[in-house]
Symmetry: C2
Subunit: 176 residues, 2 copies
């Protein structure tokens, strides 16, 4: 997942949510375009330490157009989430069936036109203004057909036992 | 939808996203517990003016426990979204089949124990830490079986025509 337009102070919480959704919904990492933000990297790494997925990749200060071009050159697919795109229901089966490594782009501020052009698919999670956090979650949920919400990671120190009214947090004996 | 634990400056953007998701994914309103935040009310009302759903209800400074109790007294169902709850896949069909008015509770900070007890269902959109914005979106998406993402509101001034690479915004002649 590639996060465009991040503004370190202003977007701190929303970009953290975007990163946590990427991790929890099965993406393999988050790349923050253009700017550095050590605070967010630390927060995400900390969650991965405790709840697993230490292989979740987080990078910042990356040139986004270079990154996208090299992604495409390696045979990957680029999907930009935007309310102006094609409806998710009309394209998700095609996107899944291509069976390619997918780079999902989510913007914070207004996304420059070049990203609409360079992306293989501009996909709308509905055509109403809402949230890139929600768009990413629903896109990944549809892509993985909901299976991602059952994941427990083998390197987690803690995991949750579902409960009707309690908070049951289990400490794993031997996280790998 | 009831938003707990909102801190006006710190959570401004995330609570706005939560409210926009509520509106876009078919909820009938957002109630901000305890505190007043005129800036968020204005933002959401502005989106409703332009993109429709002027009937979307936004209230702030509401006593949350009183609100929940009167909701239950009127025969409504209370669902609290939390990573500690029962997995969404295990309860969503039951919740839908009850066919009651649902109050969805989403927290910002740590949610006090009383809300776990007073809720009819504590529901986990996966058992990983992520985002209340994502949890609300996926819960509503599953509840409405994805139909909510096709909505265009009859009182919208603008709507989007899906496009593979363009931004096509249509101005309605006569918004109702």
């Amino acid at each position: 997942m590639l996060r465009l337009g991040h503004r370190p102070k202003r977007d701190m919480r929303v970009t953290t949510h975007v990163g946590l959704v990427a991790r929890a919904f099965g993406a393999s990492g988050m790349v923050i375009a253009s700017v550095k933000d050590e605070a967010i990297i630390k927060r995400l790494k900390r969650v991965c330490e405790v709840w697993g997925r230490r292989d979740f990749m987080v990078m910042d200060g990356i040139n986004p157009l270079d990154y996208i071009k090299s992604w495409k050159d390696s045979g990957g697919l680029v999907v930009h989430l935007t309310m102006y795109g094609l409806h998710i229901d009309d394209v998700i089966d095609t996107i899944r069936s291509l069976n390619k490594d997918i780079l999902v782009i989510v913007g914070a501020t207004k996304v420059p036109r070049v990203y609409y052009e360079i992306s293989d698919y501009n996909v709308a999670v509905g055509h109403q203004p809402h949230s890139e956090v929600a768009a990413l979650a629903v896109f990944l949920d549809r892509l993985y057909s909901g299976k991602e919400l059952k994941l427990i990671y083998s390197d987690a120190k803690l995991y949750i036992e579902p409960s009707p009214r309690e908070k049951r947090v289990i400490v794993r004996d031997q996280p790998r």
